[in-house]
Each structure stands twice: as structure tokens, then as C-alpha cells.
Amino acid sequence: MPIETPPPLLSAKAISKRFGPNFALRNTAFSVRENEVLGLIGPNGSGKTTLFECLAGLLPTDSGEVAFRGRALAPAHRKQSLFYLPDGIRPWAAQPVYWILSFFEALYTKPSGHGVRPSITDLAAALKLEALMKSRVGSLSKGEAKRVLLALGLLTPHPLLLLDEPFDGLDFRQTRDVMALLRSVPLAGRTLFVSIHQLVDAARMCDRLVLLSRGQVVGEGTLPELRAQAGLAEGGLEEIFLALT
């Protein structure tokens, strides 16, 4: 009796997005598997943020479709299945950290059976936010604000979390700590799709990788699989990326 392969958690097919005459995404296709950490790799301007915003339903696509666990997922319903945490935002700058965390936790008081969410206290400890809880978001440094944003993302109950540049603004030690925290997320039943421009971090952090160049997926798989796609016997992600683009 043949074993049925479960559909991927999320699959994107032929997603295209143009800004005027320029393609930001062109027939982009890939899939995200359950409980993995998938990395989205690409240089600046390759379309990583555009792809995330299209997946989250915040930006209309020109063509293509997104399926969640094998079923087509309309843009208006994406927020029920995935949460996208943008990079470079500073929400509610006038409010204290503890309040926006409480607010975000309260927004999702009725998780629809999507795993167990960490508490604010646990997240504050894991992200070293205890001393910042009374500070206004607007007064935080870039790295501190990034950790607060990560806490917001981790407070959501969605099975799939899209993180845009989660290590941007963090120092080496913070990057290592946050990476350890994010690596533990799949253990709690959630899947991560993260865009990372630091290739070393990506190689350490991700189970699989999607390589994006000029809006097109040029490779998808584990590091050995990508190496094989690039026809390389050895070499790191940088060599693979250069070989595939």
C-alpha cells in the first residue's frame, strides 16, 4: 500500500509581482515543510521582503497561488495561518514595551489550536527584555527594538511564522542567543520561514534554504542538495549562491 506524502505546510506557485515595468518576483515557486526552519537567501533587492508581503497578503500579486496544507489560501485568509514580522518597523513608539507585548498577547487570546504560546515572562527572559519592559519602544536601540519585535512575533499562535531579517541590528552574542531561541520554535510545533542576508547565519540556522535572485528562485533544498544543484563537490553557501546565479 503506497504511503501518501502529506502536502507541504505552504506551497507557492508561479508568484509574480511587478512594480511598473520591473519584476520584483517572477514565477517564484517553493514550498515550506511542517516544523522546519526554512531560510530565504538573497542579496538586497532580490525580492525577499516583497515575497513575504505577498505571502502574508499585504501586497497583491500579479499572478500565482499559495496553498496551505494542500488547500488554496486566498490573500484575505492568510492571516489565519501565517504571521509576517516585517523588518525595520518601530510600532507604537510612544508605548512601553510591557504594554505592547500585553496588547499583542491579548489580540490572540483565542488561539485556534495552534500549539502552545510562550508567556510574556518566558519571552522577556529568553530575549533579555526584562530591563526594558518599562521603556518606550521609541527609546530603544535598534537591537533592543528588534528583540521586542521578535517577542511580538513569537506571541502569535500561527503555525507558520515569517521573519524578515530577524538578526538585523543584533550583535554577535544576541544573534547567537536569538538563533538558539528560534531553533527551538519548531520543537513547539511551529514552522519558521526567515529571510537572512548573512549567509553564515543562514547556514547555521536553517534546515533548508530557498535562494532568491532578481525575483526568481534559483535553488531550494538542504545545503548538500543545493551544493548538488550547483554542481559543487564542496563549498559554503556563498559559493553555491555564486554558482547558481
Binding site: A56, G57, L58, L59, P60, P75, A76, K79, F83, Y84, L85, P86, G88, I89, R90, P91, W92, A93, A94, Q95, P96, W99, S102, F103, F104, A106, L107, Y108, T109, K110, R136, S139, L152
Partner: protein, 452 residues
């Protein structure tokens, strides 16, 4: 906090963001002296007209707190809602768009409608707080011994509340569509200036243009300031305000193509036009003024109600002729509330009336009813009414020599007692020019200090 409804958290966020807005604190700071200046000046003039210091006094029946105190005091709020409040409303949207918070909110389980409703409630609550100096004026007036007629006061407050709903709707829609707060502010002020221009252009023109202009923010508020509660004004103003929020909802929902947004906006505009048309057909108008200034004497109204045919009026008076204002307010406005249909044609050729040709019938007002017509140059109520009674062949009510209507228990407007009040505005200057600004500055300083 489990158990607290999601909407309560949304409200809490909006109140926090409102308090974090310097524009809101500036509004609070400025509204006290503005309203205070209106109140103090009004009380001084009212006292002079009432014969303070033994000077000559106006006829007491002409002294109405509505015109003498309420309208000038709350006039400050018209200024504030035009020039200050839109910035507060715009910030509640633009700040979230600019900071990226809106992208997070759009992914939350809360609907865009719920989020906009929370913003609307917070804005209205903030505006009610800004009404404190106005309410203080009512208290001071009563303490001075002044009279207040509750229906007049409540009607005026309703007018100002509708005015702020409209202003909030326009500002929120502009903030949703524009890319930044500055563009939204320019668009909002452009809308206001546009309505002023419409008021000016449409004055005395008649037809659909004047009908349209009667629903501009300034014209709409003027209805309430005259002691009138007009159903069509309430319906149209409220609909416009709500439509502003609905338009904001269309443009704030991300993930839609520009063409989709434009089509939905056009659909909303069509729906709005139909609703406004339906709202404008509402004929219910109530004179809530204490002295029934917007009504004919009851006996005359009973006589006029016998007229079933539509009345056509052709007015050869220019928009800037004060007689036209008298005719509009004292005759035509009242007639339109009584008769089944009053169609007015403004036939003057010039704006001032000074340069009309000899054969242009300038100054004449023609009344056409049931195939008959009559001309009168008068804008005086009894004369015009007698003209109409003759034209309609309706027996006029019997008038006494003094001009009072003989119906039992009825007193015409000019025979109501009036409310002279010859007092100085004691303590008002301290309250509005010192205490209120100090209280706002202290509260603001404490809020921002505690927060930091």
C-alpha cells in the same frame, strides 16, 4: 489580561495613542482660551445689550442665550474642528502606517472595521474632553443667573457632534489614502476650503447647487445654531462622516490592487450618493428654539396647512442683498416646513443687485400657486402671509391690533419674555486664560514625564 474583550484592548490602544499625540494636547491647550474668549466677549456684549451700568438696553425679547452666548462660545469649536482636530485624527492613522504598526494590525484577528470603530470612539471621546471649557461656560452662565433652554443647548451640541464626526471621517479617509500625514492634512484642509467656496458660490443661486451647499459643514452647523433640528441635515452629515471611515477601510486594507480600491471607492461613492439623495428627501424639521424663531404663529401655521398645492416663488433679489437673507430665513425657510412643496427660483442677474437693469424686476418676489400669481416687494412676515392667503383663497387668522395671534395661549416669537442678563463674566478670564492652560500643561507634563 484574559477576559478583557479584544475590542477593549483596541480602544485602550487608541486612547493611549491619542494621549501620546502632541497634536491632541495642543488642541486641549488652545481650546480653553478660544472658547473662553468667545464666552467672555459674548457675556460682555449680552450684558451691554441688557443695560449693564444703567446704559440703554435692547428689547428684552430680543435677548436669547442661543444667539447671545451659546453660538459664540461654541463657535470656538467650529474653528478647532476645522483647523486643529483634523491633525489629531490624521495622526491616529498616519502614525501607524508610517511606523509599520498597521502591517501588524492587519494580520491580527481584529477586523479593519473594528479597528476604525475604536479609532472613531477614541476621537469622539477626546473631542468630548475638549468640550470641557464649553461645558464650563454653561455652568458659569447658570451661576451668573443666565437662562438655558435644554432643547436649544442639546440641539447645538448635536450639531457640533455631527460636525466633528464629519471632520473625523474626512481626515481619516485622507490619512488612509495619502502616503503621509502632511499630504493628508493638505487634502483635509483642501476639502474644507472647497466647501467654503461652495457656500460662497451657491449663495442665493437656488437649485441643486444651493441644495448641495446646504450640507457643507458650515451650512449644516448653521442650521443647528438657528435652533432647527433638520432630519435631512442630520442624516446627510452622519452619512458623510461614516462614509469617510468606510472609504478609509477600503484604502487601509492591504493586499488589494489599486484598481480594486478604485472600483470599491466608486461603489461607495454611488451608495453614498443614493443615501444622501434619500437623506436629503427627509422633510422632518423641528424648531427647538425657545422663542419659536423658525416658525410662524400657530394659527398661521394652521391656516397655511390648508394649502395643498405646490408654491413656486421667483425672487428678484441678489445674493448680497440683506432682504434676501430676511426672506430666506423669515419666510421661505418657515414656509418650506409647512407647505407640501416650495420651489424657489433666484432670478437676479447680478451678485450685488446694484447694477440690475431697470426692466429686471429687481426687488420683486413673485408667488405662483394653483395657476394664480401675486407679486410683493415685502419681506415682512404678515404682509407676505396675507399675500399667500389671498393667492390660496384661504381665510387668514384673525390678528389683534398689536399683531398678536388670537389663538388661545399662543404668543408669537417677539412677545416671549427674553432673557436679559446684565452681569460681568466674573472669574471666566482666570478660568480660561490661566487655570485651563496651566491644568493642561501640568497634565501633559506629568503624562510625558511618567511615560519617559
Amino acid at each position: 489580561m484574559p477576559g478583557v474583550p479584544r475590542f477593549a484592548w483596541l480602544l485602550s490602544k487608541e486612547f493611549r495613542e491619542l494621549l501620546a499625540s502632541r497634536a491632541f494636547w495642543l488642541l486641549l491647550l488652545m481650546i480653553g482660551p478660544l472658547a473662553g474668549h468667545g464666552f467672555i466677549t459674548a457675556v460682555d456684549i449680552y450684558a451691554e445689550a441688557s443695560g449693564i451700568h444703567g446704559g440703554p438696553a435692547a428689547l428684552s425679547q430680543g435677548l436669547s442665550p442661543l444667539d447671545g452666548m451659546l453660538v459664540p462660545t461654541f463657535g470656538a469649536y467650529d474653528l478647532a474642528v476645522t483647523l486643529l482636530f483634523p491633525f489629531v485624527a490624521i495622526r491616529l492613522i498616519s502614525a501607524e502606517k508610517a511606523s509599520g504598526a498597521w502591517k501588524l494590525m492587519l494580520q491580527s484577528p481584529a477586523s479593519v472595521a473594528a479597528m476604525l470603530a475604536a479609532k472613531c470612539i477614541a476621537l469622539l471621546a477626546g473631542w468630548l474632553l475638549a468640550w470641557t471649557p464649553g461645558f464650563a461656560a454653561l455652568v458659569l452662565w447658570k451661576l451668573y443667573g443666565g437662562s438655558l433652554y435644554a432643547p436649544e443647548v442639546l440641539n447645538l451640541l448635536l450639531g457640533h457632534l455631527l460636525r466633528v464626526v464629519l471632520s473625523a471621517g474626512v481626515a481619516v479617509a485622507a490619512a488612509a489614502i495619502a502616503t503621509g500625514a502632511a499630504s493628508a492634512a493638505i487634502a483635509t484642509l483642501g476639502f474644507i476650503v472647497g466647501t467654503w467656496a461652495l457656500d460662497f458660490i451657491a449663495a442665493g443661486r437656488g437649485g441643486w447647487l444651493q441644495k448641495l451647499a446646504s450640507y457643507t459643514p458650515a451650512s449644516g452647523l448653521r442650521i443647528f445654531e438657528q435652533g432647527l433640528l433638520r432630519g435631512s441635515t442630520v442624516a446627510v452629515t452622519l452619512t458623510l462622516g461614516i462614509a469617510g471611515f468606510a472609504l478609509a477601510g477600503i484604502w487601509l486594507t492591504e493586499g488589494r490592487r489599486l484598481s480594486t480600491r478604485l472600483v470599491r471607492s466608486a461603489g461607495l461613492a454611488l451608495l453614498l450618493a443614493l443615501t444622501l439623495w434619500g437623506g436629503s428627501l427627509l422633510r422632518g424639521t423641528w424648531d427647538v428654539s425657545e422663542n419659536r424663531r423658525n416658525s410662524f404663529p400657530v394659527a398661521d401655521e394652521a391656516a397655511l396647512r390648508q394649502i395643498r398645492q405646490p408654491l413656486a416663488v421667483t425672487v428678484f433679489l441678489s445674493p448680497e442683498d440683506p432682504r434676501l437673507m430676511d426672506l430666506d430665513r423669515n419666510i421661505l425657510g418657515k414656509l418650506s416646513r409647512i407647505l407640501p412643496a416650495v420651489n424657489v427660483t433666484y432670478a437676479a442677474h447680478t451678485r450685488s443687485g446694484l447694477f440690475e437693469a431697470a426692466g429686471d424686476h429687481y426687488g420683486e418676489v413673485w408667488y405662483h400657486l394653483a395657476g394664480r400669481q401675486a407679486m410683493s416687494r415685502s419681506t415682512t412676515e404678515p404682509i407676505v402671509l396675507d399675500t399667500l392667503y389671498q393667492l390660496a383663497r384661504v381665510p387668514p387668522p384673525v390678528r389683534a391690533e398689536t399683531g398678536s395671534v388670537t389663538a388661545a395661549g399662543e404668543f408669537p416669537a417677539w412677545r416671549t419674555a427674553g432673557h436679559p442678563l446684565a452681569v460681568e463674566p466674573r472669574g471666566a478670564a482666570w478660568l480660561y486664560y490661566a487655570l485651563w492652560p496651566l491644568a493642561v500643561v501640568a497634565a501633559g507634563w506629568m503624562y510625558f514625564r511618567i511615560r519617559s
